[in-house]
Symmetry: D2
Subunit: 299 residues, 4 copies
Amino acid sequence: MLNNAKGVYIVAQTPFDEAGNVDLHSIDTLVDFYIQHGANGFTVLGVSGEAGKLNADEARQVAQRYIQRAGGLPVIIGVSNPSLAQLASFSNEAMDLGAAGVMIAPPSGLQTDEDLLGYFAEAFRRIEGTPTVLQDFPFASKVAMSVPLIHQLIERHAEIQLIKEEDLPCLNKISRLREGAGRRVAILTGNNAMYLPLELQRGADGPMAGFSYPEMLSQVYALHQQGRADEADDLFDLYLPLLRYEAMGFWGVCARKEVMRRRGAIRHATLRTPGPKLSGHDLAELDRLVARLERRLGR
Amino acid sequence: MLNNAKGVYIVAQTPFDEAGNVDLHSIDTLVDFYIQHGANGFTVLGVSGEAGKLNADEARQVAQRYIQRAGGLPVIIGVSNPSLAQLASFSNEAMDLGAAGVMIAPPSGLQTDEDLLGYFAEAFRRIEGTPTVLQDFPFASKVAMSVPLIHQLIERHAEIQLIKEEDLPCLNKISRLREGAGRRVAILTGNNAMYLPLELQRGADGPMAGFSYPEMLSQVYALHQQGRADEADDLFDLYLPLLRYEAMGFWGVCARKEVMRRRGAIRHATLRTPGPKLSGHDLAELDRLVARLERRLGR
Amino acid sequence: MLNNAKGVYIVAQTPFDEAGNVDLHSIDTLVDFYIQHGANGFTVLGVSGEAGKLNADEARQVAQRYIQRAGGLPVIIGVSNPSLAQLASFSNEAMDLGAAGVMIAPPSGLQTDEDLLGYFAEAFRRIEGTPTVLQDFPFASKVAMSVPLIHQLIERHAEIQLIKEEDLPCLNKISRLREGAGRRVAILTGNNAMYLPLELQRGADGPMAGFSYPEMLSQVYALHQQGRADEADDLFDLYLPLLRYEAMGFWGVCARKEVMRRRGAIRHATLRTPGPKLSGHDLAELDRLVARLERRLGR
Amino acid sequence: MLNNAKGVYIVAQTPFDEAGNVDLHSIDTLVDFYIQHGANGFTVLGVSGEAGKLNADEARQVAQRYIQRAGGLPVIIGVSNPSLAQLASFSNEAMDLGAAGVMIAPPSGLQTDEDLLGYFAEAFRRIEGTPTVLQDFPFASKVAMSVPLIHQLIERHAEIQLIKEEDLPCLNKISRLREGAGRRVAILTGNNAMYLPLELQRGADGPMAGFSYPEMLSQVYALHQQGRADEADDLFDLYLPLLRYEAMGFWGVCARKEVMRRRGAIRHATLRTPGPKLSGHDLAELDRLVARLERRLGR
């Protein structure tokens, strides 16, 4: 089913209250906000979802709440873990909770193609049959996967139904992934959507990314689907100044949460420690970026 | 003197002919092109200047030609090298040729603050008195330097007159570097100028970056100097779609050279091997990005 | 109390049965074997204890069983985790179970001294008062800590009572750590005990290491304590050929488990997947190494 | 011809005088010392030969002097360089000077098999026909190469005539390299000879390593050739305590140079900066290790 994924899969934030506890209530409002702005699915507990800061119980609760509130829209749960035992047990829990699939990036330390083939053979032996998103995000994972290797993995493991492609440069990699003669999988793209219209032209099936104005993602996708490439670009370019601001790692996620707080999607903009906080200077910058955007949007 | 650097220091490309030989004649036209579009100085043989692919003789020739053609504008020569012996001998050559200073990033493998303090103590023992740009570019160097460490280095080494700041996120790092109580040094910013107007607001003295439309860099800088921040942003935003295209590593440099070739600045867009080549798909994308930009500029 | 640790702290293996399940019964026999051969304490769930392959429940069970069987000897539990939330919750569990302390290595990705000081400030905010072993093992953690930084950490955090020093080269680092003017902490050394007699001469308080003949560790330590340095070296040198065989990463751990199986300490030599298996060639090599050792020992 | 290499290829040090200048006269005495103790060939300007600290002129002089003095014994020149232009020009110079071949390790930053195949295709396009040692030393190069990849490289590039194998664990990798069905190449082993007798049993053709007692390398090799495996082990084990002391990175190289200075092979034990110096403590340790060795050798 994920083979045919298309549209906007939101990389969802994890909301915390001011004390740093998971704010389950804000998950509900955040899901509603995302859906209202055009989300077709969700990816929960990715890197920018601060998965690395949650313990096992919290991760389960977050996954469960997202799945419950999504009301049938597909929810993919990030389960990457240096321990295959933990990866497998959380993967099984996620599927039992009703996830549409899991997302896996290889753990840092793997280097050669032989290592990677061995790693995924063992991983899929443990979660056989689980629909899986293969995340190609070397900036975060520190592991590089070439196009021939990804094609080999697709060939060997029917579990892989979707590639989240966010290597850089990304465009020719998407073209080459699409040119492969093998089984078709979906390709959604990350990198904070910085190259979205170009990626769609290259054959991507949509974004798997987060942004404080998710309506941009769905509108650009819709315009692209209608063959209105110039309008897609025009719209995208309006948002690009803010988009590139949010693209600066966890500090950008912090900015994103703050904008979504202002828009009423969540109650608090807190990132869990260890994580950045916005300074007065940052907030003033954000005010100005948002004001400029709103003005351009004619509001 | 570099202490007072301000304005646009162009990170200059190294032109090659179709066979991959250094094209000295194109250096002349390229320098003219940069000056005509507002360059106040040059940084030659940086990462995107393909310094890593030149042998010692070629590096010397390129440095010499740039210095000759620049007609008195300051030229900074990148001399980073895993070998301190080579760093020192090329540094001395560059200064003898008339360079305004050298640029150094620490070699990969250095990790602790103690390592870094030791490395620069030895480096400056060998090139004592040479005006130096300290390049803080962990994405390429694989070496992270904190603000307190950079302040210590400035304190210890009068040679450091300018920081090229291109860590990410960059904005608060610029603010913190500026807040230091010690000796004032210039701060110019890199990262392909993706955050230029914000960096100027944070106290940076200008960009040290490359772009196929260098007039954007000088116009944004001039508007900022005149306190016309909104106009600076408006202008910057027009160029941002192309700017972010050129920000994709060496493949982006390839695109940049192609645009500058079309603009008559160099004869060939060749990157030396090993390096990417633009596909038909890439060229079509570039056609479209440039056409959209020119249209917005009202040409 | 860990401030005064001395003697042999065994880095304990985690036994698995042939299906890869934790073999709790073999923990009992293994603890007995270690104690019988002179162990003064235990470090459980370190790198070579395959901690990275256990899920949270298994880790808790292993810690509990070791603590129960150790009969009052101090047991240190490895709790390193990229997630501070998980580190803190497992740390608290371990202390509740009766651990003497926890062991922490910084997570990969931390680079500057400022990063590391910030990390440990946050970690100890969460596990305030917990006796802690700071593990300096850059080969595995990918994080380098200089002597001045370690001294600063000791100064700031009373929780740090013991340094497990296993950077390479190790000897001058031990000397420099000892020369610090600050609060005295214990220093135990790792690196598979490859440099044990030299490390003791430099001021280390004993080994924190694993070996299939743990009696060597305790005998060398005892001879050193009695000032019989040459006899300590003579004894150590007998074991060195096997010791260096076991020093080859997880493959060496595999060999170690096989020798301990033969000696009756555990029922199975299995490493949990992903992990190496010994080939026929490996087993023959091991036969020969052990036979040579036993012959030299006059058995 | 390197296809048939066997015996002891010494990884040769580069001697410096007390001011850090290359000491060409000591190269002559050092070559004589190595030959007198059984060297069958030399590898010059490797990692432990401090190649990374020489400039291009110095590297050429060192290569030339070694080749001249070696009197017809094969000399392999290390030419690894992040710049393929510099690699190729130094490689050509080395062959013109009479080298038997060059040694190449891939530059750090290469990650996937596809990257590595591309890199070597380009490298061998530039140095076509040059007999080449492929160095597999991930600890220093930060690049991992799997057995299938090395087999592919051998298949594609007739230039590769010898593998210097020093990955860890090394033994099964040697067995697997030997089991390949393709063209036979020589395999010499590094890792400071820490595993030499075992490596010879696995099918290696000899050591390519440095040690202050090179006679151990040649005697162990000779005993192995005569099928006297136990005597080879007995002899090796005598030297192992000093061998493992010299195995600690550049600090170990420092110790090695000091022992060779005492034995009259070179005039100064200096390492070029940046590099370690031996403390009084280190020297006393070395005195004791050497005295113990000499006593065991019955001198």
